[in-house]
């Protein structure tokens, strides 16, 4: 099959497929979801892969040597661990002196881009400057989702056909010259990419690498086009575009530019190119000494931190008594595994009610499309790879989005615009003044709680709404609900000792002036707040018939227990409850008590977060800080409403007591898991199949955006311009900037994710091998893995495909007395530590 497929495609088509693989795969802004930026290299071992990407594309995939050296001198990289790594690499110990030599330089010339430089060398022209503006403009105008007042003509055609139609019906060409040969080539049906390439480059052996040069020099637009090609449904206004189209257009523009500005007779196809430039770009070569130094530094940097974490886990486990672990709380709460929920969980646990908390991916096992009341469109609320068959509709809502003429004004005539400018102009002076001094929610803000109308109803039960829409089943059957509720409860190990109230805490984020808003919401809900999911889960788990089925399956939820859905706004530190009016009267007292505990915990959470925000003083009272944090979330001038996943490095899979009294500084994803009820490994399999790509993807996107913010990140967001609502770019003529802006990653330490699983090593190995895609993450070490044997409490680390017992470097830690002192001590990252008094 494989061979047949290759034969049917031309070499150019194959090359284009290969290019697509290496282009950034970032969806349009509204669906921004974290993923591994260098996913194309994931079939290599991590360091091999990122070193290759360095040589081929010039990506800077490590910190700079001087940064590592600085970290070493600040004791953030342990000398002992460096020596260990040097030994593992079979290097001489003098390599250490080489590494810390301040004069050590790292120099590399990327392979991509070399053929294209010939134009400048021979004809002394900068083709990029000339062709990009038009190329980008056409793509952007075609894909535009609503900025331009007059859209692209012929939007129903595919991009290239639409362009041809414009060219035909217009007096002016879409290219440069009205009478050139390129215009004829544009309309000729028989023109292929390879024909166009031949006009530009004589020898065909260079064609593939030339295309790489061309497309990788504007990876933003090319990547988005490839992404939309593979999933046209990611745009609300459907567009049909593929990478081949834009390659063809770009080649035509290049030919026409040369013809028009250099003169058709004054240039020849490129010839006499260095034959080396036709080589396979991805040929592996041995790492240089400097690369090895970077690799050793990076590994030691990670291991220094890992060792601190593992040591604290070890000390914590040894100090626990079995009797501590029985739940006596009146309240339990299910949170998303998100690292931003760590601290809130810690405060709730140490609050008066001693809430017991659990972590599970924030769609709470219910996968569906959601249709808000006033919309005909649907949005997916589950992890991105899942394709749901269900539809939940919002009914009985009265709200509709507010209008703001400053953000969109349809000027139809000059006179109207004249009048409008006067009216809006003077209003905007006041609006600006108001927002500077008293920031408030505006129609342009992205507010988590607006995702769903709190007082609306949902079409949860299929039997009450027995119909299908566009092939989607409206609501869930009782059986389907029971399946989902039980699988979530089992996966987190909550199968007995149910409390009186069980809260399902979804999360979302609020911000203003933030094109990347959807990256701040719940990753398990496709970059949306998880409010609908939590409400659905709670309602399903409260349904009598569902409980009956669960009881039959041996999962007995007592009648006295009640589930309540709610949404935690991680930016504003506020919580909104759903269906509060339906809470049984007997539970109300506990609910009120929980609320007051929660308000306190949210305020403490704000205080803990405030140490990261420059313009807040963490010494102020927690209530005051909570108020200020709310205010900054809607301030136009605040590019950091929250820090999202910055500093994430850990993912703990196990019971809560594993890390309960450890201060992990909001750096850990926490997935609850009870090894005792997972004899087959199915629960763990489900958890790791999601955790490795989701948490690993988040972690690596932060990693690469941090180490190379210029090329793999989006650079500073302050000058960003919105392009067609699909992406951001600098200025008018820049390429799209995928990746994360510098404001999101500046406090992030580039460390790979460490997944710690509370389960026997052989058992884990068996589970992760069940799915190749998951195993690749671990085998090639794009995430690291440690097992803790639940019986012996021995730690094992997964290296080169096998577990081996972990050797601690530091061995002990001194527990910290007061959490507050710890938080107030610094604005930097804080080491993992045991806390005696968690308040």
């Amino acid at each position: 099959m494989q061979i047949l497929k290759t034969e049917s495609k031309s070499p150019i088509d194959l090359a284009i497929d290969e290019i697509k693989h290496y282009l950034p795969s970032q969806a349009p802004l509204k669906d921004f979801i974290h993923h591994n930026t260098l996913h194309a290299f994931q079939n290599y071992e991590f360091h091999q892969g990122i070193q290759l990407s360095q040589k081929v594309f010039g990506f800077k995939t490590y910190l700079e040597i001087c940064e590592y050296q600085k970290l070493f001198h600040e004791n953030k990289i342990s000398k002992e661990i460096i020596f260990n790594e040097i030994k593992i690499k079979d290097l001489d110990l003098s390599f250490f002196d080489f590494m810390i030599d301040p004069g050590l330089k790292f120099d590399i010339q990327p392979k991509v881009g070399r053929i294209r430089q010939m134009w400048e060398k021979i004809y002394n022209i900068d083709m990029d400057i000339q062709t990009y503006p038009l190329l980008f403009k056409y793509i952007c105008n075609y894909l535009d989702q609503g900025i331009s007042q007059m859209g692209f003509p012929y939007p129903e055609l595919n991009f290239f056909e639409a362009l041809k139609s414009i060219d035909r019906s217009s007096k002016k060409t879409v290219l440069f010259s009205d009478k050139g040969r390129a215009r004829k080539l544009l309309h000729s049906e028989s023109t292929s990419i390879s024909d166009l390439l031949k006009i530009l480059i004589k020898n065909e052996s260079f064609h593939k690498n030339y295309l790489f040069d061309q497309q990788m020099s504007h990876p933003g637009w090319s990547g988005l086009v490839a992404q939309i090609e593979s999933d046209p449904n990611s745009l609300i206004l459907k567009r049909f575009i593929n990478l081949k189209d834009i390659i063809k257009l770009e080649l035509l523009l290049e030919i026409d530019f040369l013809d028009h500005f250099v003169g058709e007779k004054n240039w020849q196809p490129l010839d006499s190119i260095d034959p080396n430039l036709a080589e396979d770009l991805f040929a592996l070569s041995a790492p240089t000494k400097a690369e090895i130094a970077l690799e050793v530094f990076q590994k030691s940097y990670e291991k220094t931190y890992y060792d601190q974490v593992l040591t604290s886990l070890n000390v914590n486990l040894k100090s626990k008594n079995k009797s501590d672990l029985v739940n006596q709380s009146k309240v339990q709460a299910l949170f998303c595994i998100d690292d931003r929920e760590c601290s809130l969980r810690r405060y709730l646990e140490s609050s008066e009610m001693q809430v017991e908390t659990y972590g599970t991916p924030g769609f709470f096992g219910f996968e569906f499309y959601f249709q808000p009341g006033n919309s005909k469109n649907i949005t997916k609320l589950c992890p991105a790879p899942v394709t749901p068959k269900f539809l939940i509709k919002e009914i009985g809502t009265s709200s509709s989005p507010l209008k703001d003429m400053h953000l969109k004004s349809e000027m139809s005539s000059i006179l109207q615009s004249w009048v409008q400018t006067h009216i809006l102009g003077y209003i905007s002076a006041f609006k600006l003044l108001l927002n500077l001094f008293r920031p408030e929610i505006t129609p342009g803000s992205a507010i988590a709680r607006n995702h769903m109308d709190q007082i609306s109803n949902l079409t949860l039960v299929h039997d009450q709404h027995p119909f299908f829409e566009n092939g989607l089943q409206v609501g869930f059957t009782v059986e389907q609900m029971a399946d989902r509720v039980s699988s979530v409860l089992k996966s987190i190990g909550l199968v007995e000792n149910f409390s009186e109230l069980i809260y399902i805490v979804a999360h979302g984020a609020s911000s203003v002036n933030n094109p990347h808003y959807s990256a701040y919401d719940c990753g398990a809900c496709c970059g949306r707040p998880g409010s609908v999911n939590s409400r659905v889960f709670a309602a399903a788990a409260n349904t009598e018939s569902v409980r009956q089925i669960l009881k039959d399956r041996g999962l007995n939820i007592p009648g006295s227990s009640y589930f309540i859905g709610c949404l935690h706004d991680t930016t504003r530190d506020e919580v909104e409850f759903f269906d509060e009016n339906m809470i049984p009267e007997k539970n109300l007292e506990t609910h009120e008590a929980f609320k007051s505990n929660l308000i306190q915990s949210l305020a403490m959470n704000s205080k803990e977060r405030s140490r990261r925000f420059y313009n807040l003083d963490p010494n102020e009272s927690s209530e005051a800080l909570n108020y200020k944090i709310k205010k900054r979330s809607v301030s136009l001038f605040e590019p950091r409403p929250e820090l999202n996943h910055a500093t994430n490095t850990l993912c703990l899979v196990g019971p809560r007591h594993l890390s309960k009294d450890i201060f992990l500084d909001r750096r850990s994803f926490l997935n609850s898991y009870n090894p005792e009820i997972d004899s087959e490994g199915n629960l763990l399999e489900g958890i790791l199949n999601a955790a490795a790509p989701v948490c690993g993807g988040i972690n690596l996107e932060y990693y690469f955006s941090r180490v190379d913010n210029n090329k793999l990140g989006a650079g500073t967001k302050l000058p960003h311009n919105i392009m067609g609502l699909v992406g951001v770019a600098n200025g008018l003529e820049g390429d799209l900037r995928p990746g994360l802006p510098s404001q999101m990653i500046e406090v992030h330490d580039p460390l790979r994710l460490l997944i710690v699983v509370y389960q026997k090593p052989d058992f884990i190995l068996d589970v992760i091998k069940r799915k190749d895609a998951t195993f690749e993450w671990f085998k090639n070490e794009w995430v690291n893995l440690v097992a803790i044997d639940p019986k012996s409490h021995i730690f094992y680390i997964f290296e080169k495909g096998n577990f081996k017992e972990y050797e601690f470097t530091s061995g002990y830690i001194v527990p910290e007395n007061s959490l507050e002192n710890l938080i107030l001590s610094t604005r930097e990252n804080i080491k993992p530590n045991l806390i005696k008094d968690a308040k």
Binding site: G151, N377, L436, T442, F637, P719, N721, E733, R737
Partner: protein
């Protein structure tokens, strides 16, 4: 009141100077900037009260003559009437809001201090232009605006596009500078004195002077309109405005949304006494405004990026303001202008919100889909769609008919070997000087030829690619030749001394700096950007000062010297003044080009830590 006006003028300058010596500490700098902005605003409000109390009596303050030279006196003057009051109120309130905004917005950005200092510098320039009481003061402010523009557009010094665009826009601004220089010159010639703006109200005598040389009067109006069209991005210059939006959003908001882009309107309003009786000039303003409205309206409609859409929508309004001005509807124009300033500032500041807002709208309001995909007006499509997307090819026209010919001319000169070239030029100049001594009646021709040789140095510097030091020296030679030829027009040595007093030291220091760089094994080519400022931060700043000195920026006495040179040119020598103006403009561009190419841009030698050219 006079003291208050003086304070309003001087305080921004002091606050800028102090901001330079403040430590690199965000809190200190931002507090100072905010304090300065509040003081400016309060002082202007006080002025408003006093002004109202004095029944809108204009205020005129002038220094004594800074330089007195054979009947020409150079002085600085301030003039405050209701127009300038409205403008400084607008300026100080927008600056205050933007400063407040930027304090937090710019946090931890590389160049936080540079940003706020540049904003203060900009405000000082803005203030100077608005309060200027004569052309000399106005020109000083004008230069400051141009420079602060260059600095803010190129705020991200190590990315390619901002650097490219900052130089491009600086070059276009220089065209506007020609307009202003020549306007000042023709005004002096026409009115036979260094006129101050308070005398504009004396219409009768003005009309008489303007009336006796109608050609020159129109030339004066034309130059003013040229300067205004460039600064306010009107036809045929409007493409620079969207390209200026490369800096942090608040700087685009204050500059290109609001204050800077309306300066052209201000110039027209301020000098309306000089053109309002010329039907031809009024028609010209009307036509420029009209074409801009038409072209920018259609271009705005097809913009799919938010900032360029705001820019073009703003230009439509400015075009309308030009039309209002052409009809003499000054109060209407002012009201319109203020509205447009605030609207665009606000729209730019909230521009990132457009994603959430419009996606929400798309999601909830399916009407949008129909609207969007509905059939295109065939007529519009045929005639204008491609033209609008290509922004009416304005950029290509500039390249083809303006910059390219200059480069071709430059290349003709550089096709000669350096030795031959100098031998030829020096020889020719020697002959001319000798001829001048024996045949004084030919002096006009000789001066012209000498200036032209000077210009050839400038052109060659403009086209130079390989050697920054060579280009630097050529620019100096250019100035020297201009100075010498001008000396032949007059008997005064002082003019030449003043002229060279700023240029000579700047040239020498610049030369030393460049030689030092060369000794440090840098290849000082200026083909592409080298980004040396990453390695030589202090040196690059110092070199920038040398560039300013060499280009006769108002920090150096050469600024006055240039003025004196123009003063020596007589009415019938209009070609001479044109040539001289072109020389200055070309010089300025060539100088900033050296700076930009050497010190700015991505530094490819610096590890892998650079941005792609396309970003």
């Amino acid at each position: 009141m006079n003291n208050l006006v003086l304070f309003i003028f001087i305080f921004p300058f002091l606050s800028f100077i102090l901001s330079l010596i403040l430590p690199q500490n965000e809190k200190v700098i931002s507090r100072w900037a905010l304090f300065a902005a509040s003081i400016n605003l309060m002082a202007n409000l006080t002025a408003l009260i006093l002004f109202t109390a004095s029944a809108f009596e204009p205020v005129f303050v002038r220094t004594g003559a800074i330089l007195e030279s054979h009947g020409y006196s150079f002085f600085a003057a301030l003039y405050l009437d209701y127009v300038s009051l409205i403008f400084i109120l607008l300026g100080s309130s927008v600056t205050f809001l933007i400063t407040l905004y930027s304090r937090f917005y710019m946090h931890s950005e590389n160049g936080y201090k540079r940003f706020l200092s540049t904003i203060l510098f900009f405000y000082f320039g803005f203030n100077t232009v608005i309060l200027a009481g004569n052309f000399e003061s106005l020109m000083a402010g004008w230069e400051i605006l141009g420079l602060s523009s260059f600095l803010l557009i190129g705020f991200y010094q190590n990315r390619f596009l901002p650097i490219k665009n900052s130089l491009k826009i600086f070059s276009i601004y220089r065209i506007g500078d020609i307009g202003l220089i020549l306007a000042a010159w023709s005004c002096h010639i026409l009115l036979e004195k260094n006129i101050s703006f308070d005398q504009f109200s004396n219409l009768e005598s003005l009309n008489i002077s303007l009336g006796h040389n109608q050609f020159l009067a129109f030339f004066l109006a034309f130059c003013l309109i040229l300067a205004a069209s460039v600064k306010s991005a009107q036809f045929p210059f409007f493409t620079w405005l969207p390209r200026a939006m490369e800096g942090p959003t608040p700087s685009s908001a204050i500059f290109y949304g609001s204050l800077s882009v309306h300066m052209g309107c201000y110039i027209l309003i301020r000098t309306s006494a000089l053109w309002q009786d010329q039907i031809l000039a009024k028609a010209l303003i009307f036509i420029i405004g009209g074409i801009t409205v038409f072209m920018c309206q259609s271009t705005a409609r097809v913009q799919s990026t938010i900032k360029s859409q705001i820019a073009y929508s703003s230009l439509v309004q400015i075009g309308l303001i030009f039309i209002e001005i052409s009809f003499g509807l000054i109060p209407l124009a002012l009201v319109h202008l203020i509205a447009n300033s605030f609207l665009r500032t606000y729209q730019l500041l909230i521009s990132p919100s457009v994603v959430t807002y419009l996606i929400k709208e798309q999601f909830y309001d399916p009407k949008q889909n129909e609207y969007y995909t509905k059939n295109f007006s065939n007529y519009f499509l045929k005639r204008f769609y491609v033209n609008s997307v290509k922004e009416w090819n304005i950029d290509h026209i500039h390249d083809k008919y303006l910059w390219h010919p200059l480069k071709v001319l430059g290349r003709i000169f550089s096709s000669l070997s350096t030795g031959n070239y100098f031998a030829l030029m020096f020889g020719f100049s020697g002959v001319l000087v000798a001829l001048g001594l024996y045949r004084p009646e030919l002096s006009t021709f000789i001066v012209f030829a000498m200036t032209f040789i000077g210009l050839s140095f400038g052109l060659r510097a403009f086209a130079e690619k390989n050697n920054a030091i060579f280009a630097w020296n050529l620019i100096f030679l250019n100035h020297l030749w201009v100075g010498i030829s001008n000396k032949m027009l007059t008997v005064h040595n002082t003019d030449l001394i003043i002229y060279l007093s700023g240029i000579l030291p700047s040239w020498i220091i610049g030369y030393i700096l460049l030689s030092y760089l060369k000794n440090q094994k840098n290849d000082l080519h200026i083909r592409t950007h080298q980004g040396l400022n990453q390695k030589y931060e202090k040196l690059s700043l110092l070199f920038l000062f040398c560039c300013l000195g060499l280009s006769g920026f108002p920090i150096s006495p050469s600024f006055i010297g240039e003025d004196l040179l123009f003063h020596n040119i007589k009415a019938q020598e209009i070609w001479m003044s044109l040539l001289l103006a072109v020389t200055y403009v070309l010089d300025g561009i060539a100088i900033m080009r050296i700076y930009s190419r050497l010190f700015l841009g991505p530094n490819l030698d610096h590890n892998l830590d650079y941005s792609l050219k396309s970003s």
